[in-house]
C-alpha cells in the first residue's frame, strides 16, 4: 500500500478538492492519499466528495485548525 501526501496548507476552497480529485486518479486502488488542509471549508467538501465516491475516509486534527484527511482509494 503506497501513500501519497498532498500539501494543501494555505489553500482555500475549492483548490484542495480540485487537487485531491486529480491526485486520486494518479494512485492505485488500496493506496492512501493524505491531504493536509487548514481551511475549514475543505473539511466539509473533501471528506464528503471522497465518501460519495465510495472511498474510505478518516480525518485527524493535527493542530489547531489543521487537519490531515486520509483517503483510501477503493475503486
Amino acid at each position: 500500500m503506497a501513500e501519497k501526501e498532498l500539501n494543501c496548507l494555505g489553500e482555500a476552497c475549492p483548490i484542495p478538492l480540485v487537487k485531491a480529485q486529480k491526485a486520486i486518479k494518479e494512485i492505485e486502488v488500496g493506496d492512501l492519499l493524505i491531504v493536509q488542509i487548514d481551511h475549514s471549508c475543505a473539511m466539509k467538501n473533501l471528506p464528503e466528495w471522497a465518501r460519495e465516491a465510495k472511498h474510505n475516509v478518516e480525518t485527524e486534527e493535527t493542530g489547531e485548525g489543521q487537519w490531515e484527511v486520509f483517503i483510501e482509494k477503493t475503486n
Binding site: 482555500a12 476552497c13 475549492p14 478538492l17 480540485v18 475549514s40 471549508c41 473539511m43 466539509k44 467538501n45 471528506p47 464528503e48 466528495w49 465518501r51 460519495e52 474510505n56 475516509v57 478518516e58 480525518t59 485527524e60 486534527e61 487537519w67 483510501e72
Partner: protein, 427 residues
C-alpha cells in the same frame, strides 16, 4: 485490516450543536465520552454566515465562530473526538456497537445527533455540478469565489433569504428562485423586507429548477415557470440550494423508530425506542430546528445517558445480585395496596436473613430500571407507569438470573417459591 476495538461509556454520533452539548454534559459527569463527526465539528451551524438569535452572542457572530466555542468547551471537558463516518451500528441488550472504517466502538449508551443534510432539487444534471462544480450548500464556504459574479439561490426560507443577502456582499447579483406567487416567501418577515429592498437581489417567482447546464462547470440554470410552463435560461456562475434538509438516518433504518420523513422519534427525555439509545438535535422528530433547541436536546440526552448508565450498573450489580436468592418487588408508591404488600415483602426478607435479598423498585421513580427489568424478562408491558397492568409484581432470581415473574403476592405463595429456590440452590 483488523478493526481496532475501543470501549466507551457514551458514543455520540455527530459533532454539531446537539452532539457537542451532549458531550459536554457526559464528560462533565466523568463518563468516558467519544464524539464521531464525519466532517467539520460544529455541524450545520458552521454553514451559517450570521447567527442572530443564539443567546450569549449579541454581536452577530458567525456560525463557525460560535461552534468553535462549543468545540473548545467539549475538548476542555475531556471529550474524545474522531473525525470519520459511521458505517454501521448495532444495538443490543449487552451494549451497543458503532463501527467506522478502522474501529469498532463499544458503548453502554449511544446518542444519535447526526443532524440533516441539504435536500437536492432532483432537477436534470444536478449530480454533475455538485462538489465545487457550481452547486453549493454553504454560502460562508463558497461566497468569496463568487466575488463580482452572478449566483442563483434556490428557496425562500430563512436560510435561502438570509444566506442570499450574505452573498450580495460578494456577488454582483443574486437571483432567487421562489416556488410561490410574487411576494410570498417562507422566510421571517424581517429577512423578507430586507431582501426585497436589496438592489442586488432579483426574484423569479413561481419557478423551480428544470435543469442545470454547463460545460464542466455550471454556467446556466434553466427555470420552469409553474404557472405558464415556460422555460427560462438564467446565466449564473454558481447556484446555492437552500430547500430544506433530510435527516441523516439511513444507517438506522429498521433499527430504531423513525417518523415518515425519517426523523427519530423520542420522548421528552430524548429516549428512543431502544434502551440506552438517545437522539438529539435536528435528526429528532421535533418542531423547531435551531442551535438553541439543539443545545437543549443535547443537555437532556447527555444527562439521561448518564442516568441510564448509572441505572444499568445498579441493575446489573444490585438488582440482579448473585450472592443470594433475589426477590425483586416492583410497585407504585402512590398505590396503598402496593405499599401494604411492601411491608409484607420486607418481613419475608427479615425471616430469610442471609438467604434472600429483597430489592424494591418504585415504578414511578425507577422507570428505566423497570424498562431494563422488562427487557430482561422479555416482557415489554412489565411496569407501565400508570397503566399498572401488572403492578405490583415480584421477580424471583437465582445466581443473578431471572427465574419467574409473578403477580401472585400472598405470603404463602412467595414463601413457597423462595423455599423451592433455596432448596435447589442448596442441592
Amino acid at each position: 485490516m483488523e478493526k481496532k476495538s475501543e470501549d466507551y461509556d457514551v458514543v455520540i454520533i455527530g459533532g454539531g450543536a446537539a452532539g457537542l452539548t451532549a458531550g459536554i454534559y457526559c464528560a462533565r459527569a466523568r463518563l468516558n465520552t467519544l464524539i464521531i463527526e464525519k466532517s467539520l465539528l460544529g455541524g450545520l451551524a458552521t454553514y451559517t454566515s450570521e447567527i442572530e438569535n443564539y443567546p450569549g452572542f449579541p454581536d452577530r457572530e458567525t456560525g463557525p465562530n460560535i461552534m468553535k466555542q462549543f468545540e473548545k468547551q467539549a475538548k476542555r471537558m475531556g471529550v474524545k473526538i474522531k473525525l470519520t463516518d459511521v458505517k454501521t451500528v448495532r444495538f443490543g441488550i449487552d451494549g451497543h456497537h458503532v463501527e467506522t472504517f478502522r474501529n469498532i466502538f463499544h458503548a453502554k449508551s449511544v446518542i444519535i445527533a447526526t443532524g440533516g443534510k441539504p435536500r437536492l432539487t432532483k432537477a436534470k444534471n444536478e449530480e454533475k455540478y455538485l462538489y465545487d462544480k457550481g452547486i453549493s450548500f454553504c454560502a460562508t464556504c463558497d461566497a468569496a469565489q463568487y466575488t463580482d459574479k452572478t449566483v442563483m439561490v434556490i428557496g425562500s426560507g430563512d436560510a435561502a433569504i438570509e444566506e442570499g443577502m450574505f452573498l450580495t456582499k460578494f456577488a454582483n447579483k443574486v437571483v432567487v428562485s421562489v416556488l410561490h406567487n410574487e411576494g410570498i416567501m417562507d422566510a421571517n418577515q424581517i429577512a423578507q423586507e430586507e431582501a426585497l429592498a436589496n438592489p442586488k437581489m432579483e426574484f423569479k417567482w413561481n419557478t423551480l429548477v428544470d435543469s442545470f447546464e454547463g460545460d464542466g462547470h455550471l454556467d446556466k440554470v434553466v427555470l420552469k415557470n409553474l404557472k405558464t410552463g415556460e422555460l427560462e435560461e438564467v446565466s449564473v456562475d454558481g447556484c446555492f440550494l437552500f430547500i430544506g434538509y433530510i435527516p441523516n438516518t439511513e444507517i438506522l433504518k429498521g433499527m430504531i423508530d423513525l417518523n415518515k420523513l425519517g426523523h427519530i422519534k423520542t420522548n421528552d427525555r430524548m429516549e428512543t425506542n431502544v434502551s440506552g439509545v438517545f437522539a438529539a438535535g435536528d435528526v429528532r422528530d421535533k418542531e423547531l430546528r435551531q442551535v438553541a433547541t439543539c443545545v437543549g436536546d443535547g443537555a437532556i440526552a447527555g444527562v439521561n445517558a448518564e442516568k441510564f448508565i448509572s441505572d444499568m450498573e445498579t441493575f446489573e450489580h444490585k438488582i440482579l445480585q448473585k450472592d443470594k436468592v433475589g426477590l425483586i418487588y416492583i410497585y407504585s408508591a402512590i398505590d396503598a395496596i402496593g405499599r401494604e404488600i411492601l411491608l409484607r415483602m420486607q418481613k419475608i426478607e427479615e425471616e430469610y436473613k442471609d438467604k434472600v435479598k429483597l430489592n424494591v423498585i418504585d415504578a414511578y421513580k425507577g422507570e428505566s430500571l423497570c424498562r431494563m427489568l422488562g427487557d430482561a424478562c422479555d416482557n415489554k408491558g412489565f411496569c407501565k407507569k400508570f397503566g399498572q397492568v401488572n403492578l405490583p409484581s415480584v421477580v424471583y432470581t437465582k445466581n443473578g438470573r431471572i427465574v419467574e415473574v409473578s403477580s401472585n403476592l400472598t405470603k404463602d405463595t412467595v414463601v413457597n417459591k423462595l423455599n423451592s429456590l433455596l432448596s435447589t440452590t442448596l442441592s
